[in-house]
Symmetry: C2
Subunit: 134 residues, 2 copies
DNA sequence: CAAGTGTATTAACTCTCTTAATACACTCAA
DNA sequence: TTGAGTGTATTAAGAGAGTTAATACACTTG
């Protein structure tokens, strides 16, 4: 299902979350389909069940999965996680915008930058943020 | 000059940076005036000189201080740190705005929120961000 | 009830971060 | 030139948070 990268310095659960997010977001898993059980995926990846559990819990909080105790975890409908992601992002953006205002940045400057960001569509001037793996 | 709070869980150097930032930003220290030497302030606060050194280095990177080796550290002109702070903030804001765009948030939504933030002047809906000490 | 599932608790382990000890380098005045 | 002041670099010790694992508990279904 997914593959862990041992050269990656990040914690395992974080790696799992990222890869599963992508898998679901890209449509690689159908809505409502059953995820592997905590134990089976743990055996599969040779990690502790609690590590899988942690990843699943985070994915659930982000709206990617829903869980029924005793039954299993399932892939949530797209609307779920897309809405959640956008609302979290908006909240974060507003918070930072307030800080920018308090730091003395004018509305005009932000207005202009906002326009600039949207006039170019792709993620330009990447710098360090590039993602290149699975 | 400043006072450390031992109930504060944050590292000492971080606490020092915050308090000195405020002291300088509030005009409590005159431009060009000499800061206490690394060693004397260390004795004063009963911490290691390296800890003071670390705080000074950070403050220098933020433009609050400038240093002449062998002479001492001095309070930088206001323009220095104010410009630096605003440009760092703007950069961060643009980065997050790109992410928001990529997450699917429309320009209109951000536009509206931007307006809302600036129509109210004070830091409202604070929640956890409140600062109440020295 | 048995075998599957998720969940909670506790502890060991690792590793980053903070802080300290110490030595080095520069400036200035006596 | 030398000594007492200053900032700077290197190394290591110590503490602490975060990650992972071991284990037991609880729920669902055939």
């Amino acid at each position: 299902m997914i593959l862990l990268d041992y050269r990656d310095k990040r914690p395992i659960y974080e790696q799992m979350v990222e890869k599963l997010e992508r898998l679901i977001a890209s449509g690689g898993l159908e809505q409502g389909s059953k995820m592997p059980s905590v134990r089976s995926l743990a055996v599969d990846l040779a990690v502790n069940p609690n590590t899988v559990q942690r990843a699943y819990t985070l994915l659930e909080q982000e709206g990617y999965l829903y869980t029924i105790s005793g039954r299993g975890s399932f892939v949530a409908p797209e609307q779920e996680w897309r809405d959640g992601q956008m609302s979290r992002m908006l909240e974060e953006w507003v918070t930072l915008t307030r800080k920018a205002r308090d730091a003395g940045l004018s509305q005009d400057v932000l207005q202009e930058q906002l326009w600039a960001v949207y006039s170019r569509s792709g993620p330009e001037e990447s710098g360090a943020g590039g993602d290149m793996e699975n």
